[in-house]
Symmetry: C3
Subunit: 128 residues, 3 copies
Amino acid sequence: MSSSAIQYPASGTIPQGPLPFSPVTQVGNMLFVSGQASTDEKGAIVGDTFEGEFRRTMENVRRVLQAAGSDLDKVVRVCGYVRDAADVAQYNQLYREYFKEPFPARTTLTNCLPEIIRFEIDCIAVVD
Amino acid sequence: MSSSAIQYPASGTIPQGPLPFSPVTQVGNMLFVSGQASTDEKGAIVGDTFEGEFRRTMENVRRVLQAAGSDLDKVVRVCGYVRDAADVAQYNQLYREYFKEPFPARTTLTNCLPEIIRFEIDCIAVVD
Amino acid sequence: MSSSAIQYPASGTIPQGPLPFSPVTQVGNMLFVSGQASTDEKGAIVGDTFEGEFRRTMENVRRVLQAAGSDLDKVVRVCGYVRDAADVAQYNQLYREYFKEPFPARTTLTNCLPEIIRFEIDCIAVVD
């Protein structure tokens, strides 16, 4: 039995995937979005170019945020995981299509993903 | 002198280990648990199989949460660090013994631990 | 248009660098500091020994926190990224010059930075 202080705002719209995590949890007005990757609506990984994986991933982030009553412009803090450091420049370029000034705080890490995905991202957002 | 907004709720029950971090800090009703690994009560690493390290680590997480008046079912957000990507499947299986639906939000990273440990985990939880 | 719940407290004093992130964002009394590295005031990386990079990085963290009305003694949670595991012992030693008991919660990761930097750190802090 979880705490009444924790809400699971997307549980009605985003189905529970095969792995043991909720897409997003909420405490007060803060949302914690799970690491999103290039997956289809059933949670199966869709391999692609870096750009393809990045765009599919970001649409998943947007979908989860909107299901929780938030959106990309309400993100406070991002952690982006770029598997291959060679893709970081493209990451920074594409990122600007999804996030606009004033930007969220951000940390970018490399080399810390398994071979099956090129990109992953998680974030903290607010809901009004 | 730290801010009065920050509490150190386990400082009376979990001894300060050899490394410069508190096991858990608190702001409002939110707890920030430091990266836990397979260590004994003095903070020395206990090497083991992945399963052994995982279970010892999770007992450390539980002990820290309970010392702060919380528990595993009040965790909001997990970051799990699996050193070897080959252990991720077992990680997901064992994880379900400690966390139940509705699950916390979660991100899993690989390859980002030193050779001396196979698993590390940190989390954000609430205290009622 | 971002949410009115999010503030950008250092935007008047810390210039926007070349990369798409704000140095720090704020929700309520909590600050989210972006990953800081050994950079000059324009955001260009300054390569150095581990100690040199660590000290320059920590001065950047301090500068961002102070610009937001906080400071190192109001940090709740740290994530430290040490590129080479061999530098972790020195990291723990130098860290004690910047953070004092009671320490923030902390997680330390290795091997997850690109070749161009030896150290990165992000944190969550409070502002009174």
